[in-house]
């Protein structure tokens, strides 16, 4: 008995400090990985840093990667350590020691996983609220609104919110600027350092407005005003794509926009407004509204299908709510 006890004591004394051997490399590797993520990887993470919403998304991805890297390194490190150190010896078919009843292990597991989940919950919530919806559509009554004055006319050098209506249609995007007489353009122009309120809608099927570099992505649903916010911080080109399968030419439903200085934007917008006022396009457009019924011609005050002489190709116009079936 005395001999057995002394043998066990000797084996225990010879057992290396596994915890220390795991934690020290884990700490060093985690620190290195997190520094690489933050200083090397983050500047290249999508969608870039062209707007506040894009900056937040880039920050979010970096923070989540920094949070996840130690977990990944810990799991893989423990896995490799176990394979090397605790590998079963040839001919040893016995089970490992049971870990039931280890308060330390149980507490570490519960506290650790709870801390991670709570951190993700708090971080995700804050990062949804602070950037006013994180560039996503919030529906017609947004809960989190970007700071900025709602004015009838937008002026450079102010904190006026620029309102831009995004209209999806198979398979093109157009943009209306209600603060510039409701003029419409097939190009998305935005001023830098200006809060922007997108009103996204559709005239036919469901599309999705995705201004990639701006970090804005909002569904374009017919008869729905879907609001999303951002503030461009850098001048440059923007790619707009449809991100909802909307028909055979969905893949070709893209165009390009531009973020430019506030004075350059004002010059462009007033120029388009003046041109459309002169050539009659402004008068031909329906009054600016948050959604449009494509089956009604406002100037005539009638449903399209009831206007004499306007029969539509093949004798019918195609209301979105009542398609003719083959």
């Amino acid at each position: 008995m005395t001999s057995t006890a002394s043998t066990a004591s000797a084996e225990h004394a010879a057992e290396p400090r596994h915890g220390l051997r795991l934690v020290v490399p884990w700490l060093i590797l985690s620190l290195v990985a997190d520094l690489i993520i933050w200083f090397v990887w983050k500047p290249h993470l999508p969608p870039g840093d062209m707007s506040t919403s894009a900056q937040h998304q880039q920050f979010d991805i970096a923070v989540l990667a920094i949070s996840g890297a130690p977990v990944l390194i810990g799991v893989i490190g423990y896995f490799l350590y176990a394979i090397v150190v605790w590998r079963a010896k040839p001919g040893d078919d016995s089970d490992g020691s049971p870990i039931h009843g280890s308060t330390k292990v149980s507490a570490a597991w519960i506290i650790g996983t709870s801390a991670i989940v709570l951190w993700l919950f708090v971080f995700g919530t804050v990062e949804l609220i602070v950037p006013a919806g994180a560039g996503a559509g919030e529906g017609p009554s947004p809960i989190w609104q970007l700071a900025g004055k709602h004015t009838a006319v937008w002026s450079p050098g102010s904190d006026d919110m620029l309102q831009v209506q995004v209209i999806g249609q198979q398979w093109v995007w157009t943009y209306r600027y209600p603060q510039f007489g409701g003029m419409e353009s097939s190009q998305l122009y935005l001023p830098v350092d200006t809060p922007v309120e997108f009103h996204v809608t559709s005239l036919d099927v469901i599309h999705e407005f995705w201004a990639y570099q701006l970090g804005v992505k909002a569904d374009a649903n017919p008869d729905v005003d879907n609001i999303a916010y951002t503030e461009p911080k850098t001048m440059g080109s923007v790619t707009v794509r449809c991100n909802e399968l909307c028909g055979i030419w969905h893949g070709a439903m893209f165009n390009y926009g531009k973020v430019e200085s506030q004075t350059a934007f004002e010059g462009w917008a007033t120029g388009v407004q003046a041109k459309e006022a002169a050539n009659g396009v402004l008068a031909a457009l329906p009054a600016y509204a948050l959604t449009y019924d494509p089956t009604v011609i406002p100037q005539l005050g009638q449903a399209v299908v009831k206007v004499d002489g306007i029969t539509g190709a093949a004798g019918y116009y195609y209301p979105s709510t009542d398609p003719v079936q083959p």
Binding site: I167, Q169, Q170, W171, V172, T174, E184, S186, L203, D204, V205, G247, I248, W249, A252, N255, E276, N279, G280, V281, A284, L285, P286, P294, I297, Q299, L300, V304, V307, D308, G309, I310, T311, G312, A313, A314, G315, Y316, Y317, Y318, S320, P323, V324, Q325, P326
Partner: protein, 240 residues
């Protein structure tokens, strides 16, 4: 079931799946290749392209679909296709005969001419007796709502070309439309529209389409002819 029988069953099932895949690929690829391409060659940096759009077409399978036709520059015959090729870095002088009736645009913004040289089109309209009731009207807007003079559009989105294509007026659209394709200018009301635009310096295939929801019988009017090569959408092959 014996092992050989099971193996034979698996092989047969595999061959059926492969056969269906090959048939589908050949059917669609073959179908596309059957559509002829009309080749236009330039002269002095310009090329003349002539199209017409009709209320119907002369195909055997979809005769009630609205459709574009392309005129062969040599024979002057109308070809039921929407594929044509033009040289790169060339001024395209486009003529479109609009035989289909007027219809409102879903977004009247497309009443505005965009991307053409000068930002305008020139329109003439004729009744079924050949009387010209609008002569060479050069305009930057053809209002599809208040005047009902737009039948379809010709748009090449990637080149920024968006052109409303004139139709016969509302009264003529409601009656007397051409009923046999390809339509002729004799005995039918129609609009003749001309405009020009530049092809890009480098070659490529550019999709063109109509933005009027004119696919009768399909959801939102955007199915059928609107998304089928040879009818209301096509490709312009720019050859460098």
């Amino acid at each position: 079931m014996s092992v050989p029988a099971r193996a034979a069953g698996l092989i047969v099932a595999f061959l059926i799946v492969v056969g269906l895949g090959v048939f589908t690929a050949v059917y669609y690829i073959g179908g596309t290749s059957l559509l002829p391409t009309v080749h236009y060659t330039g002269s002095n940096g310009q090329v003349n392209v002539v199209l017409q759009e009709d209320p119907q077409n002369n195909s055997a399978t979809k005769p009630d679909w609205v459709s574009y036709y392309v005129q062969d520059p040599s024979s002057k015959q109308w070809i039921h296709t929407t594929l044509f090729s033009v040289p790169a870095n060339t001024k395209v002088n486009m003529t479109i005969y609009g035989f289909d009736g007027c219809t409102p645009l879903r977004n009247n913004f497309w009443s505005q001419v965009q991307g053409t040289i000068g930002g305008t089109v020139t329109v003439s309209q004729f009744d079924q007796k050949g009387k010209e009731y609008v002569t060479n009207d050069t305009t930057s807007v053809i209002n599809a709502w208040s005047n009902c003079n737009v039948g379809h559009t010709f748009a090449i989105p990637s080149l920024g070309v968006f052109v409303p294509v004139a139709s016969p007026n509302a009264q003529l659209s409601a009656n007397n439309l051409c009923s046999s394709s390809p339509c002729t200018t004799s005995g039918n009301p129609y609009a003749q529209e001309t405009f020009s635009f530049m092809t890009p310096a480098t070659g490529g295939v550019f999709r063109w389409q109509c933005l009027v929801p004119c696919g009768g019988g399909f959801v939102d009017g955007n199915g059928g002819p609107m998304q089928t090569l040879g009818y209301m959408m096509g490709e312009m092959d720019v050859v460098s």
